[in-house]
């Protein structure tokens, strides 16, 4: 059966002459779609990072005129002084862009698309057409989101969590007018894109694995992408429903989330709804979203650390089980964002319990990474540095989760900078490192050329130092009680002694932000002038390195290779080389590890 499909596909692809449009724009080839996701995600990332730098500048030097504000914010920064409304809009759009457009679509979209068919041994995704639609929906939603930045009443400004009534009532803030409508439309399209993508990933992993590629031989990257897709399919529709109900409240006068409101001198007609309902719906996606962002990064890290340690990943079975455990737990912990929302305190107890449980599989993963390094032969390619950096920030950021997940302690630091520090380290920086690791590792596969390693080293070390420099001190201003999302802290003399910390943080942020130019330069320059990539530069075991450097439709020139072993036979005794690709048959008398 599978052989039949193979030859058919192969012939099919051989006969078609591709035009520019079908090859580069409306492509159905998973490798091209991966590149499209990566480049769109990178552009959105530049916008998101610029916004964060503007916010940091405002926090460090509140109310001081700045030519950059004047140039970029226009009427929202009269005389170069940032307006309070646009500050909240920056907070909102920075969060939205980084979480959804960069770390969901940019990360998962790029590497799920690139790696799922290549690593499981498939000619392409189960449905190339759906895959193309998925990308273009993502593109449209990005365009809508960017357009929302230019509407006259300002972009959405209710925080990325868009809690109603603030997000529902244009009377409450100007950003809740047309800007919010566009935000909701953009997210609805985004969710459609994400669902199409996820379904495709799930079907492809289940159905299109090559001969011998049993689930227990899958690289951990594929396990991570697969489980991520399942979480997405389970939780994203709930956000879509919340968004649709919010659209109805905003435009058709329903009262799902609104009740008893008196604003700007008038009583509104809404009766009987509850904003807490929205919080439940939002966080039912919102928390799993953390793992939608993080799991692919951890999957990439597993692959990169094993390859560059020249050692099998330690505890493959435990790694798979912990991915599954995290996925399951992630859907029953959302209430820890709502300890003080006014929900029944008993629920707070339940969610504290489930939340802290998630620390167990996370700890297992961290220890397994560290053990993988032990007695390895570590090759410090830039991807490896970013992966180790990920483990470091994942630990630092994850540990403070035991404070925030504990309802009694969350009262203290809820919505302070402590939270900002926590989630930026554990999901923001960690996932970003995962994305960088993926780019450095699979750049040769994506573009057929090598990235410059020295620029990679420079990029990593400056980024690593500034990331800690930004987010480590931030825990302390949070523990001093400084609330997040304040346009300026100067109305609270109580916090005056924290202003120098904020300046320090901003300096680290500016340095780290500006140094991303190194990466952009390397990324763009190497695409055209980089060293030509060898077929398997990192001497890796997985199937994607058995394909030719030049991309062809259908991935393999001849038959799809069969798989005889798991992907982590590095430094296996009895072999001359320190790696044994998955398509190499077992030697006589050689035993496959049972896991």
């Amino acid at each position: 059966m599978s052989a039949h499909v193979d030859t058919h596909d192969h012939e099919d692809h051989g006969h078609h002459k591709e035009t520019f449009v079908t090859k580069y724009i409306f492509s159905q080839d998973h490798k091209m779609i991966a590149k499209q996701y990566l480049i769109t995600g990178t552009i959105m990332g530049v916008i998101g990072v610029l916004m964060s730098l503007m916010m940091r500048t405002q926090i460090a030097w509140p109310g001081e005129p700045n030519v950059i504000f004047k140039a970029l914010l226009g009427k929202w920064a009269p005389d170069g002084v940032m307006d309070a409304d646009i500050y909240l809009a920056l907070v909102t759009i920075h969060g939205t862009i980084m979480v959804f457009f960069v770390l969901t679509a940019g990360l998962s979209g790029t590497f799920s698309n690139l790696l799922i068919p290549l690593q499981i041994g498939a000619r392409d995704m189960a449905s190339g057409f759906l895959n193309m639609i998925s990308y273009w929906l993502f593109f449209v939603s990005s365009v809508v989101m960017v357009i929302s930045l230019f509407v006259a009443s300002g972009p959405a400004a209710a925080g990325w969590t868009i809690y109603p009534p603030l997000s529902a009532l244009p009377l409450a803030q100007s950003g809740s007018g047309a800007g919010m409508t566009l935000w909701l439309v953009s997210m609805a399209i985004f969710i459609a894109s994400s669902l199409l993508g996820s379904l495709n990933y799930i079907v492809t992993v289940i159905n299109l694995r090559t001969k011998g590629m049993s689930m227990t031989r899958l690289p951990l990257t594929i396990w991570a992408f697969f489980v991520t897709a399942i979480i997405g399919v389970v939780s994203f529709p709930v956000l879509l429903s919340a968004a649709l109900l919010l659209i109805m409240d905003r435009s058709f006068g329903t009262s799902f989330f609104l009740s008893d409101i008196f604003i700007q001198g008038e009583v509104l007609h809404y009766q009987g709804g509850s904003p807490v309902l929205f919080e439940h719906l939002f966080w039912f996606l919102g928390h799993p979203e953390v793992y939608i962002v993080l799991l692919p990064a951890l999957g990439i890290t597993s692959e990169v650390i094993a390859t560059n340690s020249r050692k099998p990943i330690f505890g493959y079975r435990a790694m798979v089980l912990s991915i599954l455990a995290i996925a399951f737990l992630s859907t029953i912990v959302w209430g820890h964002h709502m300890f003080i929302s006014g929900m029944n305190p008993f629920l707070g107890s339940v969610f504290t319990f489930t939340t802290l449980l998630i620390a167990i599989p996370s700890a297992v993963k961290a220890f397994n990474y560290i053990t993988t390094l032990w007695k390895g032969n570590l090759q410090f390619n830039p991807a490896m540095l970013f992966s180790i950096g990920l483990v470091s920030t994942f630990i630092t950021g994850g540990l403070t989760g035991i404070i925030l997940g504990d309802s009694a302690l969350d009262i203290n630091v809820h919505d302070t900078y402590f939270v900002v520090a926590h989630f930026h380290l554990v999901m923001g920086i960690s996932a970003l490192y995962g994305m960088f690791a993926g780019i450095y590792h699979w750049y040769p596969k994506l573009f057929g050329r090598m990235l410059n390693k020295n620029l990679g080293y420079l990029h990593f070390w400056v980024t690593a130092i500034s990331a800690y420099g930004v987010f480590f001190p931030m825990h302390f201003i949070g523990m001093a009680g400084l609330p997040r999302r304040y346009y300026t802290n100067s109305n609270f003399p109580l916090f005056d002694d924290l202003s120098n910390v904020n300046v320090l943080i901003t300096i680290f942020a500016l340095v780290g932000g500006v140094f991303q130019i190194v990466f952009l330069y390397n990324f763009i320059h190497s695409m055209f002038y980089g060293k030509k990539a060898p077929k398997n530069p990192w001497r890796s075991n997985t199937l994607e390195w058995t394909t030719e450097v030049k991309h062809i439709h259908g991935n393999w020139e001849g038959d799809i290779p069969h798989v005889y072993r798991w992907s982590y036979d590095y430094s296996k005794p009895g072999h001359d080389e320190d790696y044994v690709p998955q398509n190499v048959p077992l030697k006589e008398g050689e035993e496959e590890l049972q896991h």
Partner: protein, 357 residues
């Protein structure tokens, strides 16, 4: 002008980095296809960098604790349940500190120790059930302890004992200020709904004028609390979500339009006592030094100087609520029962504060 210069500097820095990068790029020796793959030299340099980075993490930890480790949220709790929360917080921090120090050491030390060399072969070590068991069971035990003590503390905070005869106070949130409503002699808040708000008569909180309980209610813009008396806060919001954050009392609860939320605590230290505490005195002096410096700068620009700061308990809004979210606050005064009663006797009750329509 300065900003223009800043921009110029920023642009030149970007250009300089780009140029540096370019030189970096061009100065590489022409080499084989493997030239972008880590060599022994790269492994060595980055291995040492890993150790350096470990030291950096430790140093930034020490500096942070030394400079900013005087944490108001971990000392000087001014409510009865506060010290319990603080000690749980500190225990959690100690656990975090220990785990962080050890794991970061292992991670970076292994990276250094096992940096790659040509000809070396890694150990083929794929599984060990005992190790997996150990690092599953250790977190389980530690977390079980944390979960249990967390749940006890949480239940203690959230359980409201009506037998304690708490003073009932409504916290009323609106864009962008707070009001407090005392229940008066009967200690029962009158019924209220935003639909009853009548700005013409000054019924700004929408009290039911026909409700006998409402007549003696007292509406104020500064919150006064008698020390050592349990307080039960009932929270209401008229427009969007707000959050009543009272960090000194380890208290926080959202104010949700359409429903009444609640939080109870007992203040244990008066504002006056707090101002006399040595660490608070030190903090105030430090803040005032900073403010004087800032004032000098402002004076040079011909602007008004900043006021002298003295310690006050505060109620802050801690849920994004719109444009002036950053300035939504109310002063809290904790005082002795006598002072409180004296203050209260000067306030107008609701019935007498209404304007004739």
């Amino acid at each position: 002008m300065t900003t223009f210069l800043t921009i110029l500097v920023l642009i030149s820095i970007s250009v300089a980095i780009w140029q540096m990068v370019k030189i970096f790029d061009l100065s590489r020796q022409p080499s084989t296809d493997d030239s972008e793959i880590a060599t022994d030299k790269d492994n060595k340099v980055n291995g040492y960098m890993m150790m350096g980075f470990l030291i950096f993490i430790y140093v930034i930890t020490i500096i942070s604790f030394a400079l900013w480790g005087d944490l108001p949220l971990l000392s000087d709790a001014a409510s009865e349940h506060g010290p319990g929360v603080d000690s749980l917080f500190i225990v959690s921090l100690v656990i975090i500190f220990i785990v962080q120090t050890i794991t970061q050491f292992l991670l970076h030390y292994f990276s250094f120790k096992y940096r790659g060399e040509k000809g070396k072969k890694a150990l083929f070590f794929a599984d060990n059930d005992r190790l997996e068991f150990i690092w599953t069971i250790i977190p389980v035990v530690v977390l079980a302890g944390l979960i249990l003590s967390g749940l006890f503390t949480w239940t203690e905070i959230m359980t409201i004992d009506e037998d304690d005869d708490p003073i009932v106070i409504e916290l009323y949130a609106q864009q962008f200020n707070w009001k407090a409503r005392y229940a008066g002699e009967d200690n029962a808040l009158g019924k209220a709904n935003v639909r009853l708000i009548d700005l013409n008569t000054g019924n700004i909180l929408g009290l039911d004028t026909s409700d006998p309980n409402a007549q003696d209610d007292v509406i104020v813009t500064e919150l006064h609390l008698p020390v050592n008396r349990p307080i039960l806060f009932k929270m209401r919001s008229q427009d969007v979500l707000h959050s009543a954050y009272m960090p000194h009392f380890r208290a926080q609860m959202n104010c949700v339009p359409g429903m009444i939320t609640q939080f109870a605590f007992t203040p244990t230290i008066t504002t006056e006592e707090m101002r006399l505490r040595p660490n608070i005195v030190e903090k105030i002096n430090n803040i005032n030094k900073i403010r004087i410096k800032k004032s000098e700068k402002l004076a040079a620009k011909g602007e008004e100087a900043l006021d002298r700061y003295d310690f006050d308990f505060l109620l802050l809004c801690n849920k994004i609520c719109g444009k002036s979210h950053y300035n939504m606050q109310m002063k809290i005064v904790v005082e002795t029962e006598d002072e409180f009663n004296a203050w209260m006797s000067q306030q107008k009750d609701f019935a007498s504060s209404l304007l004739p329509n």
